[in-house]
Symmetry: C2
Subunit: 350 residues, 2 copies
DNA sequence: GTGAAAGCGCTAACAA
DNA sequence: TTGTTAGCGCTTTCAC
């Protein structure tokens, strides 16, 4: 914020031109009821003096900041940055700016970020909850203030929550079904946090797809990852390989662990996909850098971001919001070498 | 921003407690000259009523928003997110919030973002310029308003600019020298945009390192990448392989093109590092997922973010800023298989 | 330790 | 088409 030489305000322009402050304000905002001549006058002077409107004052007065708060667990990996990118593009069309906050997957930080955004008088809050969010008091507060609240990616266990999600169940189901069609019969799963809707749905789909194809569900084939890292994947793969009978495929709830699994398999001379097929989730850019290239599921990140803004705009306009609107995006299975036991390489829809 | 039921303000609390607005304000800000009894009273009521201070009003009155604007070209890849992360951590310690804006490497968007931040009355602007930024009028405006301005990563051609950069010259020099020590004599370079200080310095270091070791500089061994993508790297590698004599090493100005190069080499059955050694730059997480693992240079992203905030805080306190402070961070060469022709694998300092 | 009053810079009735 | 007036919610002298 300015410090030195006294700030240049609308009042100065008014005085300089012998007009009133309101006229200056109107002219600057290009209001229809100001004469073109006056506008021109005001604009040139503003330009000349490098006048900078004070958005804070305008926001305070208008009761609207035109800032949207976005809360994400992190911006590592490709997914959240892409979502945010979609949001920014869509939001800027409507004159909104986006303020990004990271929680590092910690509820404590999430609560603090909500406070910060509320205090900053944002016009809406868009959130992908942290992994450790079990109570929703901080979100209830947002709603009680009638501030539009849209969840994305991760679905909260909260009545009437508005949300944009990817159909993880569907994506995972297709992935597992694909493995089954490849002839895999003993499919393992590296599961994510079960409190998070996305990874829970991937797990459910895994179970259901097996059942639908008459394959037994085996406890020992499901490893719960402590986190979505390469290391966790390597550890999990090692555990799987300690079992008397090996799986013939592994479906991981994220891409990073698949990389760890691949490394372990590689080190042990186990061939992918011939001996064990591999499917990840997220379609991180590195999936095509691996050998073999990793089959994965595209979550439509950018589209998600755009949809979130659209939903927010609806909420802003309509009176009865918080009425539980949902937008579900279709993910897309991208079949690559790591899961093609038949060795017919088809890059689907890329 | 709130809409429905009239906003709860300090005035309401004051009325409720039979105190004045100023006392409430002081109590909420934990001012020393308010009795503990009153504070307790105020705090409990505020809590009970879910009072939410209006940061906009406070900022307007105080002339300080406690928001920092950060402008980055993008948040894809690992580098900028890590820098931003460092910034957020450091800034939040001092009560500042960070507003992130992307430019997509377009000056036009950069200029717009500067406007937006200025209008939002941020207390400082931290910027990694876009690739296409040649004129600096928009930054001069920031400085003329006495708003602290810190550049990072990419150094502007602007007198007295404050900046935090990584010593790209040094990092690249070490990389090339390492290749020379491995016995490489015909080292190619895939160069980045030469208007950007970072990649320009990597190129200069490449030339200088060659010269220092008595190796000739050959035009045909330098390919200028149109962008830092895998595809561009693949294209460049193809071009290099069309030459009668092949290089025995390639130093790429970023990591992504190295992946493209690797793919092409792989496809042609050219061994890395035995036939051609490869070194990238940035230490993206995927470098260790490649086969062979890619030698690269760590740019100390998080540290950079922290340093930027520290420099900003100095600027905020001291009167004579814009006096061209510079902080230079030492990058670190991470030697991996892709450049070890001697096949002695040493993971340095990891 | 607390209150009264002024004002940050802007916008929006309402008047003229 | 323009001006007058009031006030968004807060902080901060200056009094008492």
């Amino acid at each position: 914020m300015a410090k030195g030489n006294k700030r240049l305000s609308i009042a100065h322009l008014a005085q300089e031109l012998g007009l009133s402050a309101s006229t200056i304000s109107r002219a600057l905002n290009n209001a229809p009821d100001v004469s073109e001549a006056t506008k021109a006058q005001v604009w040139t002077l503003a330009e000349k003096l490098h006048y900078q409107p004070n958005g804070l004052a305008a926001a305070l007065r208008r009761g609207r900041s035109n800032v949207l708060g976005v809360i994400v667990p992190h911006i590592t990996g490709a997914f959240f940055p892409a979502v945010v990118h979609g949001m920014e593009e869509e939001a800027s069309k409507e004159g909104f700016n986006v303020m990004i906050c990271q929680t590092n997957e910690e509820v404590a930080r999430e609560k603090k970020q909500v406070e910060v955004l509320l205090k900053g008088q944002v016009d809406g809050i868009l959130v992908a909850m942290s992994k450790t969010t079990y109570d929703f008091a901080h979100f209830e507060r947002v709603r009680s203030k009638n501030i539009p609240l849209v969840f994305f990616d991760r679905m909260p266990n909260l009545a009437n929550a508005c949300a944009v999600v990817s159909d993880d169940y569907r994506g995972a189901y297709q992935a597992v079904e694909h493995l089954i069609k490849q002839g895999c019969r003993r499919i393992a799963h590296m599961a994510g946090h079960q409190t998070v809707s996305t990874t829970h749905n991937r797990y459910r789909a895994y179970r259901d797809a097996l059942a639908a194809h008459g394959l037994p569900y085996k406890e020992e084939l499901v490893i719960h990852l402590p986190n979505p890292s390469t290391e966790a994947g390597a550890q999990a793969m090692t555990t799987l390989l300690q079992q008397p009978v090996w799986p013939d495929a592994v479906f991981t709830a994220y891409d990073f662990p698949a990389v760890g699994a691949l490394e372990v398999l590689d080190a042990r001379g186990i061939r992918v996909p011939e001996d064990i097929a591999l499917v990840g989730y997220s379609d991180e850019p590195f999936t095509t850098m691996l050998k073999p290239r990793l089959t994965s599921v595209d979550q439509r990140a950018k589209q998600m971001g755009e949809a979130v803004i659209q939903l927010f705009l609806q909420l802003l306009k309509r009176p009865g919001y918080g009425t539980g609107q949902r937008i579900t995006l279709k993910p897309q299975l991208l079949i690559r070498e790591s899961s093609l036991q038949k060795k017919i390489f088809v890059e689907k829809n890329e």
